[in-house]
Amino acid sequence: MQLLNTILIGITAGSIYSLMAIAFVLVWRSTRVVNFAQAGMALLSTYIGYEAVTRFGSFWIALPVAMLGGALFAALVEVILMRLLVKHASTGPIAAVAPIIATLGLLGLIRSVIAMIWGGQDLRILPPVSNMGFTLNGETLVFSPLKLLILIITLVLMALLSLLFQRTNLGLSLRASAYAPEISRLSGVHVDLIRTLGWALAGAAGAVAGIFQTVNGNGNFSPDSIEFALLLVSGFIAAVIGGLDSLLGAVIGGMFLGIVIAFVLIYVNTSLFFIVPFIILLIVLFIRPQGIIGARAGRRA
């Protein structure tokens, strides 16, 4: 029973990490930048979702509103910050690290602005369905209707995303401009626009990850929420496990990470919560630095 519980908890958390990892991968594929502000964007989207819940009183309106807000904000960041960055900071000793520093600055900026507008205290989003566990053979599971819902929505979104990528012209352009921007440009793809779209999709995915991370926890969130630090680290690690380039890899990486963390927490020690992802990351980078999916010789970022 405990084994089943552990796996179910792991899969639910893992699906949230997968969404975050997908956001990392989408941004990486469109602009070759690891967006460390992703967690900040997810947090901002969660606040937007919170405002929508208080205005309209429904979680089901809040989720799409948060996704839209996250997408718009991410697109704005790409258009303003990333294009300036390419223009100004592409030479000199700092060129390789400038995008990292810029997205970190953005992370700090988002955090401060959120804290200025909404204050530092905890806010709360109530889950749309019960988080009381199902009962099976008279025993109560940790797995609840809420976790089931999170799992279903995440899977549906992933399916939609893969349909978009595999079956539509837009998806083809997205893939083409990720792998060969110059050739895509020559064949008439608006590469710049497609890049912005990649960021927008990532913003939307991050928004869902942020809201689910909140309701899957205790429902509370604040500018300094540790849940979001964990989301940032876990999403990044899941993306790295998957190879940073592959959407499928991001999903596998997220699920793997979620299940491993769940096992360590339940069978070893809950206080290892924050150090486990770090250790997993080190192990992955040592034994298979190119990720599970991906066959490049080494990591050259």
Partner: protein, 331 residues
């Protein structure tokens, strides 16, 4: 010729130290305390400049490395009752060992991978401190360097003592570091950063060179951590938040990562920002939310603007402009 340049540098550092000594006697307590903070930041930022500017790596984990240094100094002081100078050495060596371990992982990583790994470390490490009894959990442990020696006189305050220790340490480490950067090692780091393949072809072991840079950088960060906890008086997980790593990065970028000579700019800015924010907040009469978060906002905005418009730092920018002017004059 090389030797004469070095001795000139010693003279410069001694002169600078004397200037600081005079200044320390003139200003009030708060300024002396801020002076100590500036000295701590100078050391911490220079460790990041060494890493980022000279070996092309970015670390978001230097806050965590500072914590390692602070804890090891405090444990050496509290449990083993070492003299204060020795505790600083302990801090440097312990953190350097941690840095060597991290560096051997880091040498295989580049750019965003290293940044992400060190970010995971910065978030994970402080929570580990709660696991060990000897480190005192959330409350942390005290780190007391003791009163200033009696012979310095009765009106020699505690803060002035902190300032003396921090400023002297900063001067010595800056002198050592600027010499290392001009040595063979410094050239190897720069070569590896500019073009890794070319450096390898000319016989530089870039992996070993990167590990060495990380080790040295970590050792210096550990020293800064020990000094920081000296000025606070205690070591606890909350003294080394992720925000500290961010501030250091901002300080390094503001100073210009490619040269050590701008390091004062970043350090003074980091210490001045809370004061400036306070003045601004009072002027516009803002709410409490705005006041408490204004320093963070300013740091972030400065970080972004510097990376966008002065990516290689003010000192380098000035040099580049001067060089351009010289070329224009000639033609």
């Amino acid at each position: 010729m090389h030797k004469s340049k070095n001795s000139k540098h010693i003279g410069l550092f001694i002169f600078f130290g004397f200037l600081l000594f005079l200044l320390g006697n003139q200003v009030d307590e708060l300024r002396v305390y801020q002076g100590a903070s500036v000295a701590v930041y100078v050391i911490a930022i220079s460790s990041l400049i060494l890493l980022t500017g000279y070996s092309g790596q970015v670390s978001l984990g230097h806050g965590a490395l500072m914590a390692v240094g602070a804890y090891s100094a405090a444990v050496a002081r509290n449990e083993l009752h070492m003299p204060i100078v020795l505790t600083f050495f302990v801090a440097v060596i312990t953190t350097a060992i941690a840095g060597a371990l991290l560096g051997s992982a880091a040498a295989r990583l580049s750019g965003p991978y290293l940044a992400g790994t060190t970010l995971a470390l910065a978030i994970g490490l402080p929570s580990l401190a709660n696991q060990f009894e000897v480190l005192g959990g959330e409350q942390g442990i005290s780190f007391d360097v003791g009163y200033p020696p009696q012979r310095l006189g009765d009106d020699f305050t505690q803060y002035k003592w902190f300032f003396w220790i921090a400023a002297l340490t900063a001067l010595i480490s800056m002198w050592l570091l600027s010499n290392i950067l001009r040595s063979r090692y410094g050239r190897n780091w720069r070569a590896g950063r500019s073009n890794e393949v070319a450096a390898q072809l000319s016989g530089i072991n870039t992996a070993r060179s990167k590990i060495l840079a990380f080790t040295l950088s970590a050792g210096i960060a550990g020293l800064a951590g020990a000094l920081l906890s000296m000025t606070i008086g205690t070591v606890s997980p909350s003294a080394f938040p992720l925000a500290l790593s961010f501030s250091l990065l901002a300080g390094a970028v503001l100073s210009g990562v490619s040269t050590l000579s701008g390091v004062m700019i970043g350090a003074v800015t980091l210490v001045a920002i809370p004061e400036i924010a306070d003045v601004v907040a009072h002027r516009i009469g803002s709410s409490e939310n705005v006041t408490t978060n204004l320093p963070g906002l300013i740091v972030s905005v400065l970080l972004i603007l510097t990376v966008l418009f002065v990516p290689n730092g003010p000192v380098e920018q000035h040099h580049a402009r001067a060089a351009k002017r010289a070329v224009n004059k000639k033609s």
